[in-house]
Each structure stands twice: as structure tokens, then as C-alpha cells.
Amino acid sequence: MNKSKFIERVLFLLALSSISSLVIITIFIFEEGLPLILHTGLKDFIFSTHWAPTKGFFGIGAMIVSSLLVTLGAMILGVPLGLACAIVLAEFSSLRLRRLLKPTLELLAGIPSVVYGFLGVVWLVPLIRDHLGGPGLSLLAAAVILGIMILPTVISISIDALTAVPDVYRDGSIALGATEWQTVRRVVLPAASSGIITAVILGMGRAVGETMAVIMVAGNAIKLPTSILEPVRTLTSNIALELGYAAGRHREALFATGIVLFIIIMILNFSTTLITRRR
């Protein structure tokens, strides 16, 4: 066997090993979590909002709703901002401005989430408490922080999608007498739509999975929120908050929470793949 064939095999095995860690994690989470879902019943586990694990109540309904609400909030704040930023950078800015702004935005992605959380606690939370009421640690605080955190993801993928649109589309549109804004809105954006949707979904995945910053600013109360100023607990926060001490059924319940989270993320990733493939 020649050398390049050999190296190919080695690389293949290395690649396989990284996939195998995914397989192991999946098996592990399901093995640890499924017994509890079978024990409490899927319906009670997902729809009940009564979470008192040391007393035998394992309902994560409130946390599923909270996770989705926090993510929705982050989308409402982050997507328009990110998309606007991407359009400016890809369509309306000079090369120099783009060279300056894009690395800055990528820096945003490099800031550790605990720093976002810390900023949220010392700056955003008191702001909400003093001006809007409530304890400050709230759904709104989590959504704002997450909205900022997903910006780099949304922006960089949207820019890629926009720049992938061939220039002949723009030229053709301008030649037909459309203004630049009309060109962007009617031609470029529709042409880049699948890439932009991918950006939004990946941003969602980031928002659903974020833990540290959310624990710090969301307040972590275990009930269904009735307003955006009330504290909420997301699925990820629940696992991270309680896993340190959990044993027996409680531990299984946290792994089962992980299963639900896993499935949500899988659905998001799968839909991204579907959308990009259609393109």
C-alpha cells in the first residue's frame, strides 16, 4: 500500500473518532435519561409544569415554554439588527469599512458567554428593574443578551449568502431602472433567502443552547412566565443549575431534559440542512 493511501486511511479513522464521540454522547444521554421519561410518562414529563425533583415531580413544561420564549425574543431583537448589518456590509459599504467592521463583529463571537452574562447582571438587569419594574432578572434580560450573542452568527452567514448572489442580478436590476434599495429588496434578498433563513436557524440553535449567560440573567424561577419582566428557567439552565448535586431519579430527569434539548437542536439543524439542500 502506498503512502498517500495510508495517510488517507489514518485521516479517515481520525474523522471517524470525532463522529464516534457524538455517537457516544447520544447513547449516553438517552441511556441515562430515557428511564425517567418511561417512569413519569412522556406526557407528564413534557406538559406538566410541576418541577420538584426531590419530591418526585418531574415536569419540564414551563422550561420548554421558557426556552422557546427566550429564543423567540432573541430572534425578534437579533434578526432585524443582524440582517440590517449584513445588508449594509455586503451591499452598501466601501471595502475599507467592511474590512474594519467584519473582524470587529467576529470579535463579538469570541467574547465568552460568561462575560455577556456578567454585563447583563451589572448593567442590563438594574436598568430593567429600575425603569420597567420586576426583579430585573427576567425573560426580557435573557432575550436581549441572547439577541446580542447571536448577532455574529446571523451577520456572518447572511453576508456570505448575500455576497454569493451573482453581480449580474444586481446589474440587470439597476439597468432596468431600479434604485439600489429596490435592487436589494426585490432581487438580492429573495435570491439569498435560503442562506438568510439558514443564518436565522443557526442563530436560534445558538440561543437555545446558550447556558451560562442565561443562568446569570434569567432568574431561573420554575414557573410559566406571565409577562416578559418575570424570571424564567430554560432547559439548559435547569441542567447546569442542578446537575452538580443531583442523584438517582433527579439526575435521570436532568438527562431527560437533555434529551428534549437534543431533539430541539436536532430539529433546528435538520431544517437547516433541508433548506440549504433545496438551494
Binding site: 495510508f6 486511511r9 489514518v10 479513522l13 471517524l16 473518532s17 464516534s20 457516544i24 449516553f28 409544569t49 418541577w51 420538584a52 425533583p53 426531590t54 419530591k55 414551563a62 447582571v121 438587569v125 438594574p126 428593574r129 420586576g134 426583579p135 430585573g136 432578572l137 443562568i215 432568574g219 431561573n220 424561577a221 420554575i222 414557573k223 418575570e230 424570571p231 428557567r233 443549575l241 442542578e242 452538580g244 448535586y245 443531583a246 442523584a247 433527579h250
Partner: protein, 298 residues
């Protein structure tokens, strides 16, 4: 190495593989090796955590596991003890009071640390009280509240009192803060205040004494509970049934929210274990605990 003997295993495996890559061995054999590494990894996963094996053997040091409330103090004590007794090895691990008691029963840990009292089924263990700790109910310094009855405190955390008006103060909703499920402080608070009733799900949940104190320090309408040793000028401790959580009141147990920090063991401590326990109960260990904010037993 007493607590994690498994951890050392993969190293020679890795070396072997590396040398075989250099030697250009047949790829089919490698597949098998990858498989075996994978199995090894799988085998390691459940083995992590806990003081399995080793802990009991002579010359392998002591293993203390249990309450996360006791853990920082036990670590401090172990650190000083090891400095003074070169050659002694003490491993301190968390896991929670119940886990620590269980580990001591099984003999997986030499000493279990608990921040709650033993229940009837656990009374066969030897218990050594090492310190008292009060749980202080704290509010913002600007809050005029000075006293709460135990009953009011219970109703607060049951969610029956939700407005400061009900406590005779200007009306504003109360931002209640509790600790996460499994925390030793929460467990003790639950035992001392809540009885069989549940915490209200509306309460904010924070995962450390420090985080609770931080929020209370910033929010004029909040109320939470923290270890009495950690009360500082940022927050104000409230008297419970007219008694403030001072060192004196905790020691005399006039203050109601007091818990003991216990070390438990299956057999009466002997040898190194005895020496460490004596160190904790001796003037130096007790002084150390007092300095860290607890109240000594001697």
C-alpha cells in the same frame, strides 16, 4: 491518586498507538485499537466521580466527600493540615450531603460531610459535629424590615405573602430569592423553615450564596437567605422571632435557623483519619473555621 485510579490508564495506550503509527502497522489492526480505545472511553464515563476503591487503602490518603456547603471549609482545613503534615494526602469532593452520607455508609469515602442532620436510617454512622452555621435571612440595607416570625418566613417562601404591604411596608412586590434544588443551604432552610411544604415556583433561583447576596445588595425589594458567615455590609440580616443571627446567638442556638456541619464515618475514625478529625476539633482547626465565618463547636 487514591480517588481516581482509572484516570492514569489511557496514557500507555496512547504511547503504544503513537509508536505503531510510526512503524506503519497494518490498518486493520488499527481499527481494532480504535475500537478498544472507544470502549475504554466508554468504560471511563461512569467511573468518573466518587471515591471508588483506593480510599480505604493505607498510605493512600483520606477521602472526604459530601456537602457542597462544607466543601470549601473542608478544603481549607485539608490544605492547612497537609502543609503541616508533609506526606498526608486528603482529597475533598462535593456531591451533596446525601451523597456524602451514602459514600460513608458504603465505605467509598473515609469521611462523609453533611450539612444536614442524619435521619433515623443513618444513625448507625458515627457523627462528629465540626461547626455551627446560621442561615441568615437578608434584605437590602435600605429596607426598614427588622423582624420576621418563622411563620411569616414560611409563608413568604410558600408564596402566600407576595407584597411588602403584607409585612407593613410600602406596597411593592417582593423579589424572593431561593437556592437551587440540591444545595445544602436550601436543604437546611427547607428542613428548618418549610417543613413538608414546597417552595413557591415564582422565587428566583441562584446557584450560590454569593449570587444571592449580590442580587439582594442590588435590589431594594428583594429577600433571600444565605449562610450567616457571609453576611456583610452590602446586605442586612433580619431577626427571626426577634433574634438576630449573631455569632453568640448561633452558638447558644437561640437563633432558630441553625444547622450543624457534620463529618460522618462508618467506623470510629482511626489513624490518619483520627488525626485529621482531632486537628479540626482542636484550637487551630476551630480557629480556622471561625475565621472563615462559621461558629466553632468547642
Amino acid at each position: 491518586m487514591s480517588c481516581f485510579p482509572e484516570k492514569t490508564r489511557p496514557a500507555p495506550e496512547r504511547q503504544k498507538r503513537f509508536s505503531s503509527v510510526l512503524g506503519l502497522a497494518a490498518p486493520t489492526g488499527r481499527l481494532l485499537r480504535w475500537g478498544s480505545l472507544l470502549l475504554l472511553f466508554l468504560g471511563l464515563l461512569p467511573g468518573l466521580g466518587g471515591c471508588k476503591g483506593g480510599g480505604k487503602a493505607a498510605n493512600h490518603g483520606l477521602c472526604i466527600a459530601g456537602s457542597t456547603s462544607v466543601q470549601p471549609f473542608a478544603e481549607k482545613l485539608a490544605e492547612v493540615y497537609m502543609q503541616e503534615h508533609p506526606g498526608a494526602r486528603i482529597d475533598v469532593q462535593g456531591g451533596g450531603s446525601s451523597a456524602g452520607i451514602f459514600a460513608a455508609q458504603q465505605g467509598a469515602a473515609d469521611l462523609g460531610a453533611s450539612s444536614r442532620e442524619l435521619v433515623a436510617a443513618e444513625k448507625s454512622l458515627h457523627e462528629i459535629a465540626i461547626a455551627w452555621d446560621g442561615i441568615a435571612v437578608v434584605v437590602h440595607p435600605s429596607n426598614p424590615l427588622n423582624n420576621l416570625s418563622l411563620e411569616q418566613l414560611r409563608q413568604l417562601f410558600q408564596g402566600k405573602i407576595t407584597d411588602w404591604r403584607e409585612l407593613g411596608l410600602p406596597p411593592h412586590s417582593i423579589d424572593l430569592i431561593t437556592r437551587e434544588e440540591g444545595s445544602g443551604t436550601r436543604e437546611a432552610f427547607e428542613h428548618l423553615v418549610m417543613g413538608k411544604t414546597e417552595f413557591t415556583p415564582s422565587a428566583l433561583v441562584q446557584d450560590s450564596n454569593g449570587a444571592v447576596r449580590e442580587i439582594v445588595a442590588g435590589d431594594p425589594y428583594s429577600l433571600g437567605y444565605i449562610s450567616a458567615g457571609l453576611v456583610d455590609e452590602q446586605v442586612k440580616a433580619v431577626a427571626i422571632d426577634g433574634v438576630l443571627p449573631t455569632r453568640e446567638n448561633i452558638k447558644k442556638q437561640v437563633y432558630k435557623l441553625v444547622r450543624r456541619f457534620l463529618l460522618v464515618s462508618r467506623v470510629p475514625p482511626a489513624g490518619e483519619c483520627r488525626a485529621f478529625v482531632n486537628f479540626i476539633l482542636g484550637p487551630q482547626g476551630q480557629h480556622l473555621l471561625e475565621k472563615e465565618g462559621l461558629v466553632g463547636v468547642n
